[in-house]
Amino acid sequence: MAEMNILEAIRSAMDEEMERDDRVMVLGEDVGKKGGVFGATDGLFAKYGEKRVLDTPLTEGMIAGAAAGAAIYGLRPIAEMQFADFVYPAFNQIVSEISRMRYRSNGTFGLPMVIRMPYGGGVHGALYHSQSNEAYFTSTVGLKVVAPGTPADAKGLLKASVRDPDPVMFFEHKKTYRLFKADVPDGDHLVPIGSAEVARPGKDLSIFCYGYMRTCALEAAETLAREDGVEAEVVDLRTLRPLDRATVLGSVERTGKALVVHEANRFGGFGAEVAATIAQDGFEHLDGPVTRLAGPEVPGVPYHHDLEEWFMIGPAKIVDAARALAAY
């Protein structure tokens, strides 16, 4: 076991995969000599050279599109978007080329590639450096979407994503990068895509979350246990698509109550899919309204600390929502 934070876990996942497989390469803005603006690729340029670690111009469309081309012809690219907010020039490539390639070529071409993106608020990044835009991608058929919340999951899921035969959007909550250290298993640690984890068992209600929300939900669950005697089960989805329906529905069967939490705004957010799944297929186990707690309906995380606090979902808001649901 090694203790590391999420950023270190991501770096070591890329390092190990590049070491293991010559086809794995990295491309993005400032990922080479600088080692990425958050330091995720630090050291890779020195170790693997400029042919496998490409500093690109400021061109997200090219980063995604060229990664796709490279993937078609035998490489396994890991593309970095400097911030998830800047993915939009690449959106066309991701939606039009990348997500559909396997299907429309009738399986002739596949795209084993990963797009890593730092997302999320809580770092005073304001509207253009704080976005949680996962729902654009979870609503696109043909993409896998992953959002880890612990160092072990970040490492295991990134390694699994690199080896996956299909394109994976890999969301890294930037607030979690250096938030805490935790054990990561030694050796070739893999976490399968498509499996959720019960991060904390409980019997009274289920909290479904991912990314940074895992940390917040676990803290909220401790408060609920201590102050209310409510035992919340925290389910970290880890992969948003494909959704681990069995784990989600299994948890609802145990607790009868579901609170779905994310930082992205609520309307049409990923939580709607989770909530609808529970409402339709877990109906007979439900003992309260499927509840969503999500970011407010404004176009982005505002800048000033007080406004950002108002926006962000944290343990206190989760506790409030869980109390209301538990009392139902």
């Binding site: 061109t59 997200e60 990044g125 800048y303 000033h304 950002e308 108002w310």
Partner: protein
């Protein structure tokens, strides 16, 4: 440079330009550059005291490139201002107080704490607010120009972007439509040598100024640290645009003297580069020039210092934004006010219309 780009200086003379700068204009140019530097130094200090949230971006070394083009605009012209061009806001009439309040996210800031640092513009002085996505705003500037052209108004849309941003497809889309429709748009490329850690040679194989010819219009390179040179080039370009003779790309060569943001250690910049460019500091150079012409530059800098001191005090006295107002302004709740702003320093008269 291509022949098309080279032809430009000759045509420049034919235009009967350069516009004569009066003694007051020259003092104003210095004043705006000093205002930018002093305000940014103050904001950096506030950042270091933890009063500016997030990160802090400035345009140290690029003051001439920010101020010169803005000074060439008339009050009816419009400016789409980028993150290293604080001086352009000042030329348009924004005061340092609301800028410092903006950087601290205070209620008295231009966006009342909603958007960050340089992501603001005061519509009343004819400016449009940037977004981080580079260079999205180049296309927006083309849209303003389309509106002016459609209504036959002799007005100009001017915008700035960095060397890094010229790689992005949207920049090429803007250049293309500007050329096709001969839009009254002036495009200022601030080549500060770096796009974060990425040097010019990893951004483009051909100097972007040469691309202008490929899109069917003029491109010119100027010394971006010489405020009068940048002004003259921009003034000629604005004049051409107003006469319906199409867009101009001006590449102002300069240097980003600070990190990409205050968090950036700039490890990747060779030390000699700073020394070389420090000797060409746009403010020091212009001070020397004006002093040689008998201008009392000391009094200009003292008055700027005083104004920024007062502005800082005012900004620090502004309240924090009210979270209750955070949901306001997603959609219009009244009929939006139309019309265009007045700018305070005007060279515009209605005879131009």
């Amino acid at each position: 440079m291509t022949t098309e780009a080279r032809r430009f200086p000759a045509e420049h003379e034919e235009d009967g330009r350069p516009a004569a700068l009066t003694a007051a204009d020259r003092r104003a140019l210095l004043r705006f550059m000093l205002m930018m530097r002093t305000t940014e130094e103050r904001a950096l200090a506030l950042y270091q005291q933890g009063k500016v949230p997030g990160s802090f971006y400035d345009g140290r070394g690029q003051e001439a490139t920010a101020v010169g083009p803005a000074f060439a605009l008339g009050p009816r012209d419009r400016a789409c201002i980028l993150h290293r061009d604080l001086g352009a806001h000042f030329v348009r009439g924004v005061k340092p107080g609301p800028v410092l309040a903006q950087m601290m996210g205070r209620a008295g800031g231009v966006t009342e704490g909603k958007d960050a640092n340089m992501h603001f513009a005061d519509r009343r002085v004819g400016c449009v607010q940037m977004v981080s996505m580079l260079p999205d705003m180049a296309l927006v500037a083309c849209g303003l120009a389309i509106a002016f052209q459609m209504r036959r108004e002799p007005r100009v849309a001017l915008t700035w972007f960095g060397d890094g941003a010229t790689a992005n497809g949207q920049w090429h889309e803007a250049m293309n439509i500007a050329g096709i429709r001969k839009l009254p748009v002036v495009l200022i490329l601030e080549n500060n040598q770096w796009a974060y850690s990425t040097p010019n040679e990893l951004e483009f194989a051909v100097d972007p100024v040469e691309r202008a010819a490929g899109y069917g219009f003029l491109g010119e390179k100027v010394d971006g640290n010489d405020v009068e040179a940048v002004f003259q080039a921009a003034a000629a370009a604005c004049e051409r645009a107003r006469q319906g003779r199409g867009p101009t790309l001006i590449e102002a060569e300069t240097m980003r003297m600070h990190g990409h943001g205050a968090h950036d250690d700039m490890r990747y910049v060779p030390k000699e580069m700073f020394a070389e460019w420090e000797a060409r500091d746009p403010i020091r150079l212009y001070e020397q020039r004006l002093a040689a012409d008998g201008v009392d530059v000391e009094s200009v800098s003292q008055s700027v210092e005083k104004e920024v001191d007062e502005a800082t005090e005012w900004a620090l006295g502004q309240p924090m934004p009210e979270p209750g107002r955070a949901t306001a302004g997603v959609f219009a709740d009244t009929d939006p006010e139309l019309g265009d702003g007045e700018a305070p320093w005007s060279r515009w008269t209605d005879e131009h219309a």
